[in-house]
Symmetry: C2
Subunit: 337 residues, 2 copies
């Protein structure tokens, strides 16, 4: 499970908590703080929990930074973390900072819940539909962006992508990673989700497999569609599948929720995700939701079909993003009908 | 405060939680795990909380270790952490591990409490007595032990201490740091403690100052006695007060609780600390408790008197430890009567 759920000594309540910390992967310290916070909270959201009682921040300040850089960078990172926590309706009241060769940023999210506040991620049934709430490809975008400064690497991908496209994809990845999965968590209740997880280090397929393995029913997850930040598939292929993006194992940071929904609810879930997210400054792509597969009877594993359909998700604000790119209907792909 | 206390949405309950992580300071990985856990839990114990609903473990594995060392060291450290958690009546069900240049070990402790389960650390009144539940000098002992292998350093202290004494002091410090402050937390309720904190990185005086600063009443803490692991005072003096040990600012790791008790309860608290700790394998020194000072009317600061009495605390198991070395009576020092 994404969180630990501890039954308490008091009145049927449970303590649900999670922790995560990692190293900076975007250059903007403020956005990095937001991403770290979104990433920690995401584990609660994956259980359909929309509230958080408290966050702790875990930081290490790099000993290799000079004082000036440190005083500039760390407060921004902390502010980003706090702002995202506030957006999540919670606050940061505790933590610990140490000195280390590397910067580390992360935190702990804790909430005390009644049983109806969370959805145990084990109720998928054959016939359910799989929905993903953020596009894949954050790792590829972050790496490609670093390669702009590394001619040897850049030469390998410059035939399939422009510098401008890489910069746009990087921005898209950054905003996507910084987006809270809170809206999705709320809609999980409204549309009776049966199970969910968030997509992070093991990639879509890794987390789908973990989720499938813990189902009470004998089910299998079959993934037909891969919504991917535009051009990232081409980059991944151009460097010899370095990332295993279309194989589903490219690592994501603060990825979307993978949600199992009753078939009749999935389109409404996607549609509402899209309409709610456009209000939060996240117009277009990463505020969307895509139907990516189905739940069959099976041996509690997940797989991606041979030649899945790639949904190129354009960066928000781009012309393409102003068209409707979210798959809100299961009828778009014959495999799903 | 040592913890954050978050009022919950449910029935008058509060979420109390704390986090701490740091770098290894003893060579034995199992003991290091125990120390890290004791250090995390200590913040709860300082609030008189004896229960813990859940712990998360935070680890970073050093990239500089080879696989063989890593497979040997990390499981031992984890086991030490888990064993100490079990001794604290709790368990570790969550956490995060990353790769880093340095080993990091720490955790998060959380508990959901009713108001009567914790003691807000702000109720000291003039006439109270200050009690400390572990001897000072852990940092000096750990450093002196490293200096056994550094002739230049060793030459500075070899006139005041033998190698055997340094090894004994190191053992004593290690066991003391690995000892949970849970017994003291329980006795805080029994003997109506008015406030407490645990002694860690800022040293006795630093934490005493912090505690004094948050008192509701206008009080000052005056410290007359310093219980210190045997020979550590001599070492500290021999290296030109490098550690500021008798000045009260030498850092401690997983130090004891500094407790403000009503004057008539202090001796009983100390006596019971001593009798309870001898059962837990911690006979003698670090299972003790020492009356170290008094609470006066004042400006919410702490100070150590000029020429405080140094109580040399012998290593447990040594001949000296079998005599009674705990100051269990306020009458031992005229300043306190």
């Amino acid at each position: 499970m994404d969180c630990c759920v501890i039954p308490l000594r008091h009145g049927g309540l449970s303590l649900v908590q999670t922790t995560d910390f990692f190293y900076p992967l975007v250059e903007d310290p403020y956005m990095m703080g937001r991403i770290a916070c979104a990433n920690v909270l995401s584990d609660l959201y994956a259980m359909g929990i929309t509230e958080c009682d408290n966050m702790l921040m875990l930081l290490s300040v790099s000993q290799k930074m000079n004082d000036k850089d440190r005083e500039k960078v760390m407060p921004l990172m902390i502010r980003g973390f706090r702002d995202a926590a506030e957006e999540g309706g919670t606050s940061v009241t505790g933590g610990q900072t140490v000195i280390n060769p590397w910067i580390i940023v992360g935190g702990v999210a804790s909430v005390v819940c009644q049983p109806n506040e969370f959805i145990m991620p084990d109720g998928a049934v054959p016939g359910d539909v799989l929905v993903l709430t953020k596009p894949l490809g954050t790792q590829v975008a972050v790496n490609a962006h670093q390669w702009l400064e590394q001619p040897e690497r850049w030469n390998k991908i410059k035939l399939v992508v422009t510098k401008e496209e890489v910069k746009e994809a990087y921005q898209e990845a950054m905003f996507s990673m910084a987006t809270l999965n809170r809206t999705a968590a709320g809609l999980m209740h409204k549309f009776q989700a049966h199970a969910a997880t968030d997509v992070t280090g093991f990639g879509l397929l890794g987390h789908a497999n973990n989720l499938a393995a813990q189902q009470r029913n004998e089910v299998a997850f079959v993934i037909h569609n891969l919504p991917i930040i535009a051009k990232m598939t081409a980059i991944s292929k151009a460097c010899g599948n370095l990332f295993n993006l279309v194989q589903g194992t490219s690592a994501e940071t603060s990825g979307g929720l993978l949600v199992c929904l009753p078939r009749e609810q999935a389109a409404k879930f996607c549609s509402e995700m899209k309409s709610q997210s456009s209000g939060a400054g996240g117009q277009g792509a990463s505020g969307g939701a895509w139907i990516i597969g189905i739940v069959e009877k099976g041996d509690r594993r997940a797989r991606i079909i041979d030649k899945p359909r790639i949904i190129e998700v354009p960066p928000r604000g781009s012309q393409a993003a102003n068209q409707d790119n979210s798959s809100t209907s299961p009828d778009q792909n014959p495999n799903l009908s």
